[in-house]
């Protein structure tokens, strides 16, 4: 599947998410300089690049949290350019931000319940019980307040909370950063399970090895531009690319 996302293709089923030529600024600094990408239904895609290359900004621009100055976005074939974030995500997107965005003054149960909503097609595939089955630790801590959780538990909670919105697409920013190895494994396991249920994902993480195993395709960002895109095989075969854009 080649991604030359300047327009979604109306003839076939449109891509789940498409962004074209995003230019985004913070104040006077030009952060995104024409980013385009596309995610198909059920597809798992990674966004790679060193710190400060625009990964988070790309995600925020797509969601409308940091509106791009120019460029267009589509979700399931509907143009969402300029939409407010809540409308964009209502098209079936769940967002797990870098700082996790747990509500510290709400209990684990409340964090989950307040987010719950049926999916775009009206189905409720992720009721509280099923979600908790995937996160046994959260079930144990259901009455604790958000600020009483460890980092790993918080990350599980944000992912669980994302599932409660019955998404078509899950966006994970820094999925495992700062977590203990045990928790990392746990998170990767859960992400795998989610992929297997047919939910598409965009994942940002430092753990290139894990991403190569998990994702169908990859985008590499450098200084606000997509410098490479392709499948895991191609990336494995190209250690140069690896060194140039991802290595230390």
């Amino acid at each position: 599947m080649m991604a030359t996302a300047t327009q979604p293709r109306p003839e076939a089923q449109p891509a789940l998410l498409a962004a074209s030529q995003l230019h985004t600024y913070y104040g006077d600094s030009h952060i995104l300089q024409g980013v385009s990408l596309e995610v198909g239904r059920g597809e798992t895609v990674s966004l790679m690049g060193r710190n400060g290359m625009g990964k988070t900004t790309t995600l925020r621009s797509i969601l409308g949290l940091t509106p791009p100055r120019s460029g267009r976005t589509w979700v399931a074939g509907v143009e969402t350019t300029g939409w407010r974030p809540y409308r964009v995500v209502q098209k079936g997107i769940a967002y797990v931000p870098e700082d996790r965005g747990i509500f510290p003054n709400l209990s684990v149960r409340e964090n989950l319940v307040m987010a719950a909503r049926p999916g775009v097609d009206g189905r409720n595939a992720w009721p509280l019980e099923r979600t908790l089955e995937h996160f046994p630790r959260l079930a144990e801590r259901i009455g604790h307040m958000g600020n009483q959780l460890s980092g790993g538990e918080q990350q599980m909670l944000t992912i669980a909370r994302a599932l409660m919105t019955n998404p078509e697409l899950l966006i994970l920013d820094e999925a495992t950063e700062g977590l203990a190895p045990l928790f990392r494994r746990e998170i990767w396991r859960v992400i795998g399970e989610i992929r297997d249920t047919g939910i598409a994902s965009i994942i940002v993480d430092k753990d290139v090895g894990a991403l190569l195993g998990l994702c169908d395709r990859h985008y590499i960002l450098n200084k606000g531009r997509v410098v490479w895109e392709g499948e895991s095989e191609a990336l494995r075969r190209d250690p140069d690319l690896y060194r140039q854009h991802l290595g230390v």
Binding site: Y26, G27, D28, S29, T66
Partner: protein, 355 residues
């Protein structure tokens, strides 16, 4: 500190000259009104040091204005003659002391808590004077003598409206220059940096609390000076000068005029007082107009009147300005009046929406 462009400097200088010449042709009433405006301008300048430069939003600044006036009235209540310079010392000392006490406690808090704590202390002082039988209660205190200013063998009679006008004009310029000096000194740079990002200044090893306190005391003393001049001007002082309405009004003046500039609050005082004088001629419901004007400024002129003036100057001298600015196109975002300091870069971008 905000750098002024040459045309703006020229314009302000012209304004100062006009002020100096005004009594030669202006009516007695307007000489009096301008005297009052300039006194309030000193008051507004002192508050600007806090909200415009230090980032301390005081909602009780009228307390020091009142303390200034009351100090004069209490100390010299029965005096036949009031020597100006010793009265001035009394006033500055008392209002600085009051500011030190209130500031020392208030500065421990921040944000809305600071706003409310300063208000609380001002209200306490207000009720203290309002209900005290000793200091005249709500009737206030009348002054029957006017201070005598003697410099060597020369004596200035402040009972004459013209003399008082020039005297107050002189003080306004002194306060303006004093604040300019303070802000240009390293001390001033630290204040501005505290406003931009206190954490970072503290991390650099500055005892920010002490800087804020000194700023608070300077502002309190200058507000006391303004209250002192007002008591000389009107010959009496009442608790109403300490009420939260007055604190609110001076805040309105500073923001409307353009905080973080020193000429802004002066312009703001002129605008508000002249509007208060003029609008009642138009309609009985003039407060409606006043409210609408303030809202319009908030929504359309975030930098206050000062920014409007700056923009006008830029447009008048547009040719030169655009050459100078080079790559910046016309739609460049309007930057805030305080553009940070030499010491510190502006706060990280993108997080401005989360307080």
């Amino acid at each position: 500190m905000h750098r002024m462009t040459r045309p703006l400097q020229l314009l302000l200088l012209l304004g100062a000259v006009a002020l100096a010449l005004f009594p030669l042709g202006g009516s007695e009433f307007y000489v009096g009104l301008l005297t009052k405006i300039m006194i309030l301008a000193i008051f507004a300048l002192s508050l600007d040091l806090l909200i415009g430069y230090t980032g301390l939003i005081s909602f009780g600044h009228a307390a020091f204005f009142g303390v200034g006036g009351y100090t004069l009235a209490i100390v010299f209540q029965n005096a036949e003659t009031i020597p100006f310079w010793s009265a001035l010392l009394w006033v500055l000392g008392a209002s600085a002391l009051a500011a030190l006490a209130i500031g020392w406690i208030s500065i421990r808090t921040s944000g809305i808590y600071f706003i409310m704590l300063t208000l609380a202390f001002a209200q306490m002082l207000y009720y203290f004077f309002f209900e005290s039988p000793r200091f005249g209660g709500d009737d206030g205190i009348f002054l029957f003598a006017t201070p005598e200013v003697s410099l060597g063998s020369f004596t200035l009679n402040l009972q004459s409206g013209h003399n008082l006008y020039y005297f107050v004009l002189g003080w306004m310029l002194v306060v303006y220059l004093l604040l300019r000096m303070v802000l240009k000194a390293p001390f001033g740079h630290v204040l501005v940096a505290i406003k931009a990002n206190e954490q970072r200044v503290r991390a650099l090893g500055y005892a920010t609390g002490r800087y804020k306190l000194v700023s608070f005391v300077i502002a309190g003393a200058l507000a006391g000076l303004a209250g002192f001049l007002e008591a000389i001007h009107t010959g009496y002082i009442t608790p109403a000068y300490l009420s939260w309405h007055e604190s609110g009004l001076v805040m309105v003046i500073v923001i409307l005029g353009g905080m973080g500039t020193l000429y802004g609050p002066i312009l703001g005082t002129f605008a508000i007082v002249l509007l208060q004088d003029y609008l009642p001629n138009l309609t009985e419901h003039w407060q409606l107009l006043m409210g609408a004007i303030i809202i319009a400024v908030v929504l359309l002129l975030p930098g206050g009147i000062a920014s409007l003036l700056q923009r006008l100057c830029d447009r008048l001298f547009a040719g030169r300005a655009s050459e100078a600015s080079g790559e910046n196109n016309a739609s460049a975002p309007s930057s805030p009046p305080v553009s940070s300091t030499v010491l510190f870069a502006p706060a990280t971008p993108g997080r401005a929406d989360n307080e």
